[in-house]
Every structure is written in structure tokens, then in C-alpha cells.
């Protein structure tokens, strides 16, 4: 096993990997992240590997299993180089045909090419697909080159060059100045300037300091951190090494939520390999710098994404936050100076050190530099991870990259920032995505979740959903958060269930403002955002519920009834069979009827009916 003790050793490994790659005539890249596996990528990989062996192509064709490439909707995919050909929705049974025709003969198989849902055309090259075209892929672009189990692959992309450069004679103060000049802000949500955080920890007295990578990613609807850690864990490690050197830390932790078992596994393997290579441990690359990293798993508590709660959790205790009168950069983990950054923030560090602050700051807006990965999900045609330059308008993301509404419905809003964020209405879609613009609009970047909602989404129900989430996740330590969320949920539930009173709307507003002001930690302070932003932009939906006793989107159960459209019903009986509450009756081939008294409005019949015959009013 080669031990890397000098920058030259990295160069040797790079040459070796390149040489091996050059011997192959063709490269097939198959991503195998969590979402890819949900689509069956593991079986596809086995089938392709077996087929390559059977057809004697193991030398000619290099198969690389990587992390997620971002276009989750189309998975499983195969990317073929040279040619930048992307095959979508490939099944294990297609392996023989693809290997014998594309890999052997160079034929392009039309049926696997991406079919653009907007134009209906087949698109051969990945780079021509509209989903990718409007993106600026700085971080995700690297994923295709790296097998996450191979430290050599990462080194071949120029990995660990940045830490080698730093250790060869860049002073900690110079690193901090570079990160500050780059304008890197924390990707975890609040957007705090990373350089300033490092500077404070650097200046804090003490021999023992820590760096932490926050991969708790509790925001539902965001998964870029999982993807980065799964696909390119060494990049995160290298970022942490640079940060640790800058602040004077010798120990780091990656705090990953246990709901991400693959990310945990990949991080652990990467740490093991880096140790073997001598890139973690004592006297790294022949310098005086000693640093090691450990993985700590979260136990499924949303509040542990908050920095102080996260640190208590690493200490093995109940993850409750504390007041931040003393900052964690001075007294953090075990009361030592600690720098905590999000996965995406750390992943951006190596390229800043290699390419310089100017390069990084050349993308983005005045106040938000670089790119941001967003998780585009919900009711749009193309869903997946999207990396755009800061400042890209929401409209570009939803319509150009996302391809517009999914089921021909009208898009109403995007929800950004998870439970701490808010809903931005369609009329404001020209807003640029940057930390401050979203904040001013009453939402926030958060970790970058972007859930698209259409006219079948009820905003009162959305507010209720987040309040339920937060009620469940509030640790209960401070009263404004614990009781305030409870009371807000009571009011919103009243409204959703059709017994809301007009005076409850201003009360809800007042309560929300109080909770925001008086709560102890970030969870409580931002908890009212979903309520405040829906009140601000969708007050007419609240009034329709309160005054008209109606749910315009047809979601709130107490205010709707299900019926069967006699014109559309064919009497096939599927709804009758699927109804768990026996509320549907009817004879075969005759129009069926729903008994409103028995109907629980569970929606199962809607999803089962092939003729769209169930109506909601």
C-alpha cells in the first residue's frame, strides 16, 4: 500500500490511474447512490459487469461505479464516454443489449436516450439535456470521475493537492484570508461567513480545538449533503483538513444522521483509506500537522442539526441546544474552540485553495459567492440535484431546469429552506437564489431544499405539516418554542378543520412573531417561518378556509367531499376493492357510489382509479 508522504507521491498515483484509464477504449459510469439504488442500480451494475466479462470486454471497457450524478428522476442511468452519451431508465435486463451493441459496436440505442418531456425529442448527449444546460456544476461534476471507494480516483482528479499546497508553506492566516476573500458562506442554512468563523476559532486561546462536519441534514426535502458525502467523501475530508490546519485543530468529527446508512459507510471507508495513505494521522505529508477524523452518528433528532445540540450529541448526551452567549468557536465541543461547517461548505474549500479566491468569487452575486446545490423536488417534471451559480432566478430553476409543472397543473409556490424556510409565490419567481434575497422574501436558503408546489397543494395544510413536524422535533427545553408551536398548530388545525374563527388569523400572526423573537435556538427562531410566509403570500387561502369553509386546493379533509363522476366511471370496481373503509358500492359495469358517511377521504381510490372518475369538491 503506497503511503503518501510527499506531494510527489500524489503525482505518481495520478499518473498510474490515468495510465490505466487510457488503456480502456470506453468508459461506462453507473451511479449507485441511495436514490439510484432505490431505482435498481445495484442489479444493473451486476448485470453490466457480468456481461462485460462474458463478452470479453473487461480490458477494453472501464466500468466505474460512482455516487449520484444528480438526475435522480431518470435513474438508473449509464453515462458512456467518449461521447457523453446518457442512457436513462436502464434495467438489468438491458445490460446484454447495451454491452453488445453500444460497447462492442458503438451503436447508439435510441430507446434509452433521454426523452425531453417538454419537446418530446430524444437527446443523445448529457450536456444537451435542458436539465443540465442551465446548471453550473462545480461540485457535482466531479462525481463521475470518482469511485467513492477509491482514494486513488480522488487523487487522480487533483485530490489532496490543495492540502499539499497548504502544508508546503501557506500560513493559517493566509488560508483564512483566502476563504474570506472568496466570500464563502455557510451552506447549511444561515449563510454565516466561513472565513470569519475560522478566524475567531483560530484566535481563540487553547491547544485543543475541533472541526466538525455537519452532515445531519435534517431538513426534509434536502439531500445534497448525503449525495456529496456518498459520492466524493475525500473532498469533504480534504476540506476539513485545510480548515483544521487553519484553526489549529487536531481532531475532527463527521456527524451524519443514521437515516443515511450509505453516507456513514462511505465516510468511514474514506477515513480508513486516508489513514492508510498517511493523509490522516501524524505528520501529514511530512509536515508537523497531525489530524484525525471520526464518524459520529445522529440518532434521528432534527434539533441535532443545530450546532450546540449537535456538539452535545457527539458528547454522547441528549442533544439539547444551549444559549449562544458564548459562541461555539470559543467554547464548543467539550468546551473547546470548535469550527462547525456543513458538508457542502467543506467540499468547496479544496478548490478555493487550489484555484484561488478570485476564481471562486467570479460566480454568484455581490453577497453570495460560488454555486449552490439545490434539491429540486415536488411537482415538477425533472427532479434531482441541481447546482447553479448563486443568483440564478427561481424561474430558471423551476421551468428551465425542472421543466415546469408535472401533471399539467399550475405551479403555485416553491418551499425553500425546509421547516425553517418559507413558501415563495409564483409571482416572485424572478427572485435570484441567494442568501439575502430569499431572506428578504420571508424564506431562507436553508440547506437548499426546493419543493415545488402546485394548485393541488393547500398552503394551510403546508403550514400545518411543518408545525406538526416542528412540534414533534422541538426538544422542549424553552417555552416559546415548545408551547408556541403547540398553540400555533392548534389554530392552524382549527382553520384546516373548518372551525377557524376570523380573530384567529391575527392571533396566529402575533404568536408566530413572538416565537421567532423569544426562542432559544435556531429551530424555534425559524419555526414560525412557514406560517408567516404563507400568511404573507397566501392569506386568501386562510380566509377561504375561515370565511368560506372551503379548501381551494381540495386537500383539507373536513372541507371536502369525494364523489364519483358518473360520466367517467366505467364500473370496473377497482375503487370498490381498494377502499379500506368499505365506503364504495356499485355493481359491475355500473356507476359506483361513495357513501359520504363512511368515506374517510384517504385518497386511495383516486390513486387507483384509471379513469380519473373520482372528484373532490
Amino acid at each position: 500500500m503506497p503511503r503518501v508522504s510527499h506531494a510527489k507521491d500524489l503525482e505518481i498515483i495520478r499518473t498510474q490511474v490515468d495510465g490505466k484509464r487510457n488503456r480502456a477504449r470506453l468508459e461506462m459510469v453507473i451511479p449507485n447512490g441511495t436514490c439510484c439504488q432505490a431505482s435498481g442500480s445495484a442489479a444493473l451494475i451486476d448485470a453490466v459487469r457480468a456481461e462485460l466479462a462474458r463478452q470479453g470486454l473487461l480490458q477494453d471497457v472501464a466500468l466505474r461505479v460512482t455516487g449520484c450524478l444528480g438526475f435522480c428522476e431518470q435513474e438508473p442511468v449509464i453515462l458512456i464516454e467518449p461521447g457523453n452519451i446518457l442512457y436513462c431508465h436502464v434495467a438489468a435486463k438491458d445490460a446484454a443489449e447495451i454491452v453488445s451493441r453500444t460497447a462492442q459496436k458503438g451503436e447508439i440505442l435510441e430507446q434509452f436516450l433521454f426523452a425531453d418531456p417538454v419537446s418530446g425529442k430524444r437527446i443523445q448527449m448529457e450536456s444537451d439535456i435542458p436539465f443540465y444546460k442551465a446548471q453550473t456544476r462545480q461540485l457535482i461534476r466531479m462525481h463521475r470521475f470518482v469511485d467513492p471507494f477509491s482514494i486513488d480516483d480522488y487523487i487522480a482528479t487533483g485530490g489532496y493537492k490543495a492540502i499539499a499546497k497548504v502544508l508546503a508553506g501557506v500560513k493559517p492566516e493566509e488560508i483564512i484570508a483566502e476563504v474570506k476573500a472568496a466570500g464563502l458562506r455557510g451552506r447549511g442554512g444561515a449563510g454565516f461567513p466561513t472565513g470569519r468563523k475560522w478566524e475567531e476559532a483560530h484566535e481563540a486561546p487553547g491547544d485543543e480545538k475541533y472541526v466538525i462536519c455537519n452532515a445531519d441534514e435534517g431538513d426534509p426535502g434536502a439531500y445534497m449533503d448525503r449525495c456529496l458525502l456518498e459520492a466524493n467523501p475525500h473532498e469533504v475530508l480534504e476540506g476539513m483538513m485545510i480548515g483544521a490546519y487553519a484553526v489549529g485543530a487536531n481532531k475532527g468529527y463527521i456527524y451524519v444522521r443514521r437515516e443515511y446508512p450509505l453516507a456513514v459507510k462511505h465516510a468511514r471507508i474514506a477515513i480508513g483509506q486516508a489513514r492508510e495513505y498517511g493523509l490522516l494521522g501524524d505528520n501529514i505529508l511530512g509536515s508537523n500537522f497531525c489530524f484525525d477524523v471520526e464518524v459520529a452518528r445522529g440518532g434521528g433528532a432534527f434539533v441535532c442539526g443545530e450546532s450546540t445540540a449537535l456538539m452535545t450529541s457527539i458528547e454522547g448526551k441528549v442533544g439539547e441546544p444551549r444559549a449562544k452567549d458564548v459562541h461555539t468557536v470559543k467554547e464548543g465541543l467539550w468546551n473547546r474552540p470548535t469550527v462547525l461547517n456543513n458538508v457542502e461548505t467543506w467540499a468547496n474549500v479544496p478548490s478555493i485553495m487550489l484555484n484561488g479566491a478570485k476564481w471562486f468569487a467570479s460566480r454568484g452575486t455581490d453577497s453570495s459567492k460560488g454555486t449552490k446545490i439545490l434539491a429540486l423536488t415536488g411537482q415538477v417534471k425533472n427532479t434531482g440535484l441541481v447546482e447553479v451559480a448563486m443568483g440564478t432566478p427561481i424561474r430558471t430553476i423551476v421551468y428551465d431546469i425542472g421543466g415546469g409543472p408535472k401533471n399539467g397543473n399550475k405551479i403555485k409556490a416553491v418551499q425553500t429552506g425546509g421547516p425553517s424556510g418559507g413558501c415563495i409565490p409564483e409571482r416572485l419567481f424572478d427572485l435570484p437564489v441567494d442568501f439575502d434575497a430569499l431572506w428578504d422574501a420571508g424564506s431562507m436558503m436553508g440547506s437548499g431544499g426546493m419543493v415545488v408546489m402546485d394548485d393541488k397543494t393547500c398552503m394551510v395544510d403546508v403550514a400545518r405539516y411543518f408545525l406538526k413536524f416542528l412540534q414533534d422535533e422541538s426538544c422542549g427545553k424553552c417555552v416559546p418554542c415548545r408551547v408556541g408551536i403547540d398553540r400555533m398548530l392548534e389554530i392552524v388545525t382549527d382553520i384546516a378543520e373548518g372551525h377557524g374563527r376570523p380573530e384567529q388569523i391575527p392571533l396566529l400572526q402575533e404568536l408566530a412573531e413572538t416565537v421567532a423573537e423569544a426562542s432559544l435556538c435556531g429551530l424555534g427562531k425559524s419555526a414560525p417561518n412557514p406560517v408567516l410566509s404563507t400568511l404573507r403570500y397566501f392569506i386568501d387561502e386562510y380566509t377561504a378556509h375561515v370565511h368560506g369553509r372551503q379548501c381551494p386546493a381540495g386537500v383539507c379533509k373536513a372541507l371536502i367531499t369525494y364523489a364519483i363522476d358518473a360520466e367517467k366511471c366505467t364500473g370496473c370496481g377497482v375503487c370498490l376493492k381498494s377502499c379500506p373503509h368499505d365506503s364504495i358500492t356499485g355493481e359491475k359495469k355500473k356507476v359506483h357510489i361513495i357513501d359520504a358517511g363512511l368515506c374517510q377521504k384517504c385518497g386511495i381510490c383516486i390513486s387507483e382509479c384509471k379513469f380519473d372518475a373520482i372528484t373532490v369538491k
Partner: protein, 159 residues
């Protein structure tokens, strides 16, 4: 449970109170829940008072103090799954099995849980059956999955 296995979980972690969460996660993964006897041993070996062990066990959602079913069906109720109808899946389970999320069927076959997000948001709604991820779930697909999970047991019984 076999003390041997607990021994291997505790290996290298004894007398280190900060390892509590990690040890308990391993125990949970191995046993499917946290047996009382094991927690007493953990308390003693790590040097953490039993009351604090139980506080941690109650605080984090990952831990269960009751044995779970052979099949754990986890429904993701994250935002992206919610707007694509994960509520319907929860309703399906309640109607079909007559249990609430968090509960186990009386025969110990199926445990149903909800999780706030598994991070496969582009493919929602997501259901995780033991360790395998199922995308774009509908109530109908889930019903078949549960039938199958319950049916596996019957076949085994006959054999």
C-alpha cells in the same frame, strides 16, 4: 441477547461516556431494539448512570425500547414525499393493518414507522422496507408489499 455480541460492541469503548449514543445505535441495529438487560450492562461499562441511558433512549427517534417486527416498513413523510401524497400511504397502513405508525402487529410480523426524510426526495413518496428503498410508492403498491411481507411468514409455516 448474547453477551458476546454486546462485548464486541463495547470493545474499545468501555469507560468512555461519550460513546453512549454510538453504542446504543449499534445495539439497536443488532437487536432491533434496546433490551433492558443490555442497557444495564452499557450503563455499567461506559460509566453512565442508568437514568441518563434511558433519557438518551427516549430522546432520539432511532431507539426503540420494544422489540420490533420482522418487517419494518418505514414511510418517509418528508416535505417532498408529503406533497406527493405520503399521507395516503399512512392511511393505507392504518386501514390495512389497523395499527398506528410506531406500532407492531400483534403477530410481530410488521412494524410501521414514519421518518422525516430519507433523502431520496426526487423519487418520492419513498417507503423503506427493511433496508431496501422503494420509490414512487402508491397505496396500491404498498398494499401488495405488506400482503407479501405478511405472506412470507405463512409459507414458512407450511414448510
Amino acid at each position: 441477547m448474547a453477551m458476546m455480541n454486546l462485548d464486541s460492541i463495547l470493545e474499545g469503548r468501555r469507560s468512555q461516556p461519550h460513546m453512549l449514543v454510538e453504542v446504543m445505535l449499534d445495539l439497536q441495529d443488532q437487536e432491533g431494539y434496546l433490551p433492558e438487560e443490555a442497557l444495564k450492562t452499557v450503563s455499567k461499562e461506559l460509566g453512565v448512570p442508568l437514568i441518563d441511558v434511558y433519557r438518551v433512549a427516549h430522546f432520539y427517534k432511532a431507539f426503540s425500547l420494544k422489540p420490533r417486527g420482522k418487517n419494518v416498513i418505514t414511510i418517509c413523510t418528508g416535505t417532498a414525499c408529503h406533497v406527493r401524497g405520503s399521507d395516503l400511504l399512512v392511511n393505507q397502513v392504518k386501514g390495512q393493518l389497523g395499527i398506528e405508525p410506531g406500532d407492531t402487529t400483534p403477530d410481530g410480523q410488521i412494524t410501521v414507522e414514519c421518518v422525516n426524510c430519507v433523502g431520496a426526495c426526487a423519487l418520492g413518496p419513498i417507503v423503506v422496507h427493511n433496508e431496501s428503498y422503494c420509490k414512487n410508492m402508491t397505496p396500491g403498491k404498498l398494499r401488495k408489499k405488506i400482503d407479501k411481507a405478511a405472506g412470507v411468514k405463512k409459507e414458512k409455516k407450511h414448510a
